[in-house]
C-alpha cells in the first residue's frame, strides 16, 4: 500500500525509465493539444486557458517549459492553418480569416484566467 513518507532506498519509489529517444517533441505535442481542443469547438482563449491550468498536466508542462509566448504563437499558427476565427465572441462574419491574432495584444485574456469555462481554479499549495 502507498506510504505517506518517501523512502529513497525503496526500489519501488521513483522508478527510472530509459527513453528510446531524448528527442524534444514538445512542438508536435503542443500542436496536437491545440488542434484537438480546437476541433472540439474551443476558441483560442479557452485553449490558452487550458495551457495555464495546472490540472492539465501535459499542457501546463509545455507552458512552464517553453513559456506563454511559445504557446500563443502556436495557437496563432494552428488556428490560422485551420482557417478558424480567432475570437468567436468578436467575429460574426462566419468566414475563415487569419488576421485577428496578428499581434501579442490580440489575445485579450485576463492574465489570471486559466479555466476554459470561466470557473475559479482551486489554488495549488505549491
Amino acid at each position: 500500500m502507498p506510504k505517506d513518507e518517501f523512502d529513497f532506498d525503496d526500489p519501488m519509489e521513483l522508478n527510472g525509465m530509459a527513453l528510446l529517444s531524448d528527442e524534444d517533441t514538445t512542438e508536435p505535442m503542443t500542436e496536437c493539444f491545440i488542434e484537438e481542443f480546437m476541433r472540439l469547438g474551443y476558441n483560442h482563449k479557452q485553449v490558452l486557458a487550458l495551457f495555464r491550468n495546472p490540472h492539465y498536466v501535459g499542457m501546463n508542462m509545455v507552458l512552464q517549459n517553453r513559456g506563454e509566448e511559445f504557446v500563443k504563437e502556436n495557437i496563432r499558427e494552428i488556428f490560422t492553418r485551420w482557417g478558424r476565427p480567432f475570437d468567436s465572441n468578436h467575429c460574426s462574419c462566419g468566414k475563415p480569416h487569419h488576421s485577428q491574432i496578428a499581434s501579442e495584444q490580440a489575445i485579450p485574456l485576463d492574465s489570471t484566467a486559466c479555466d476554459p469555462m470561466g470557473a475559479a481554479i482551486p489554488e495549488l499549495n505549491l
Binding site: 500500500m1 502507498p2 505517506d4 513518507e5 518517501f6 519501488m12 519509489e13 521513483l14 522508478n15 525509465m17 527513453l19 528510446l20 529517444s21 531524448d22 528527442e23 524534444d24 517533441t25 514538445t26 512542438e27 508536435p28 505535442m29 500542436e31 496536437c32 484537438e36 476541433r39 472540439l40 469547438g41 474551443y42 476558441n43 492539465y56 498536466v57 501535459g58 508542462m61 512552464q64 517549459n65 492553418r81 485551420w82 482557417g83 475563415p96 469555462m117 470561466g118 470557473a119 482551486p122 495549488l124 499549495n125 505549491l126
Partner: protein, 423 residues
C-alpha cells in the same frame, strides 16, 4: 496446438485451441491524442463493477502514463523482454501490407504462444509465455507517473505541499487507457487449467465462469496485457466483462438497443468509440463499409492494435499519439504507425466526419452516413493539400434509430453558470 490465422500478424500461428469465432465481435477504438488522463472511465468502471471487498486494488479499466507508468508496474516491458530473451533480435515485421489478411504486413517473430513452447519449467511448458506480477506491482496504479504527492501526510481539503521538489517530465509522454481487449485468441483462456474462461459466441466478450474458477492465477500469468485479477475474498479471478448487459441492450437507458460500456460512455474527452463488428468464417472482418470501426481500422487505417506481436489478436485499437517518437510507437502498435499518424494529422474528408462520432451517444453506432456540406476552407499542411468540408455525419443504432447527427464544424455549447451542474 492448432494452427490459427491471425490477421493482425498476416500469418498463421500456434494456439492451444482450434479457431472459433463469434457471430459479432466486441471491439473499441481509443484516440490517444485526446486523452487527458482524467480517469472518468476508471471511476465509472470502479463504481459499477469493482467496489466490493477484495476488489480494492482491481482496476478493470485503468489509464497509465507512458512511458513512465504501468499497471501492474512494467507489464509491457516485462513481456517484451521475455519475448526478446526467447527470440533475440527476431521480433521483426515484413511490412508489405496485404489488405484484410495482413494490413500491417507479416510478423516474423514469435508470439507468446510460440515462445511458450520453449519456456519449460518443472511444471512443463507454459500455454502462453508470461509472468505473474507481484502484489506490490498491482498495489498503486498511477503512483509517481505524473502526479507526485510530496512528502507530507495528506490533509482533508488540501493539496500536498512540496510536490514541486520532485522531478517533472521534461519530454514526451502520453496517457494510455486500457481495458481487457477481449482478444480473438485470449491467452487467459488458453492458460486456464479449469477451462473456466470462455468467449461468448454472440459478441466475443471473454468471461471467467466464477463457478469453475479456482483461482490458480494461470490467466493472470498468461494475459500479456495483465487484465485478469485475483480476488482474495472469493479466491477466484475476475476481469472486465465488457459491460455485457449493456452490450446486450438490457440497460433500460438504451431503450432496448445495444449500449456502449460504462467506461466508453463516461469519457468526457470523447476519445472512445465502441462497437460490434461482423466476422468472416476465417476470423477476418467482414466488409461493413459504413460501420465506423470497420472504416477507421480497415479503410482509413488510423486505429491500430495494442502490441499485436503478442499474438492474441486484441480487439482494442488505438489512434496513436502524434508527437511520440516513432520507434516507441512502432514497438507498441506495429508497423502501421507511420501511415496512421500521417493520415490522422492531415485527415481526409470522410475521416474528419467519422471522428465526430466519438463520445456522442451512449448507444452503439452500427452504421453511419455522411451528408455532404459546403467546403469552408482549403490549405496545405506540411506540403499536403487539406480541405475542410462542413459535412454532417449521422449515426444509427442496431434497430436503425438515428442516435447522433452532428457537423464537422461542431458548435460548442456552454452551460450557463447557474445550471453548471444540472443534468
Amino acid at each position: 496446438m492448432s494452427n490459427v490465422f491471425n490477421w493482425q500478424l498476416g500469418r498463421e500461428m500456434d494456439y492451444p485451441f482450434d479457431a472459433a469465432f463469434p457471430d459479432q465481435q466486441f471491439a473499441f477504438i481509443f484516440n490517444i491524442n485526446r486523452c487527458i488522463g482524467c480517469q472518468s472511465c476508471t471511476m465509472a468502471c470502479k463504481s459499477t463493477w469493482t467496489f466490493s471487498k477484495g476488489q480494492e486494488s482491481m482496476w478493470w479499466n485503468n489509464v497509465e502514463t507512458k512511458p513512465y507508468g504501468g499497471y501492474p508496474h512494467h507489464w509491457d516491458v516485462k513481456t517484451l523482454d521475455l519475448l526478446e530473451q526467447h527470440n533475440p533480435g527476431g521480433q521483426t515485421w515484413s511490412t508489405k501490407p496485404q489488405d484484410l489478411k495482413g494490413p500491417y504486413g507479416k510478423f516474423n517473430g514469435k508470439t507468446i504462444f510460440e515462445a511458450a513452447k520453449t519456456n519449460v519449467s518443472p511444471e512443463g511448458a507454459q500455454k502462453a509465455m508470461g509472468y505473474l506480477p507481484t502484489d506490490e506491482e498491482w498495489a498503486a496504479p498511477n503512483r509517481f507517473e505524473d502526479n507526485p504527492t510530496g512528502s507530507q501526510k495528506g490533509a482533508k481539503g488540501e493539496y500536498f505541499k512540496g510536490g514541486e521538489a520532485l522531478p517533472q517530465h521534461k519530454t514526451w509522454f502520453f496517457y494510455l487507457a486500457r481495458i481487457c481487449n477481449h482478444c480473438t485468441y485470449p491467452a487467459c483462456l488458453a492458460a486456464c487449467p479449469r477451462n473456466a474462461i470462455y468467449k461468448r459466441p454472440e459478441d466475443g466478450i471473454v468471461l471467467i465462469d466464477q463457478e469453475r474458477c479456482r483461482g490458480y492465477r494461470k490467466c493472470m500469468e498468461a494475459c500479456p496485457y495483465k487484465k485478469s485479477f485475483y480476488r482474495a475474498t472469493t479466491r477466484t479471478s475476475e476481469k472486465c466483462i465488457g459491460c455485457y448487459p449493456r452490450v446486450e441492450g438490457r440497460d433500460q437507458q438504451g431503450g432496448g438497443v445495444p449500449m456502449q460500456t460504462r467506461c466508453m460512455a463516461a469519457c468526457i474527452g470523447q476519445i472512445r468509440l465502441q462497437g460490434l463488428v461482423q466476422l468472416n468464417k476465417d476470423g477476418t472482418w467482414k466488409e461493413d463499409r459504413y460501420n465506423p470501426l470497420y472504416y477507421l481500422i480497415h479503410v482509413a487505417k488510423v486505429a491500430l492494435p495494442l502490441y499485436p506481436q503478442f499474438g492474441t489478436e486484441p480487439n482494442g485499437f488505438y489512434i496513436p499519439p502524434r508527437w511520440v517518437p516513432r520507434p516507441y510507437l512502432r514497438q507498441m502498435f506495429g508497423p502501421g504507425v507511420d501511415a496512421a499518424v500521417e493520415k490522422y494529422s492531415v485527415p481526409e474528408r470522410e475521416l474528419l466526419a467519422v471522428l465526430q462520432l466519438f463520445g456522442k451517444d451512449a448507444r452503439i453506432c452500427f452504421r453511419y452516413e455522411i451528408k455532404e456540406g459546403p467546403k469552408v476552407f482549403e490549405t496545405e499542411i506540411r506540403g499536403k493539400k487539406f480541405e475542410l468540408y462542413d459535412d454532417t455525419v449521422i449515426g444509427y443504432a442496431k434497430d436503425g434509430t438515428k442516435i447522433v447527427e452532428t457537423k464537422v464544424e461542431e458548435t460548442l455549447h456552454l452551460r450557463d453558470a447557474k445550471h453548471a451542474n444540472s443534468i
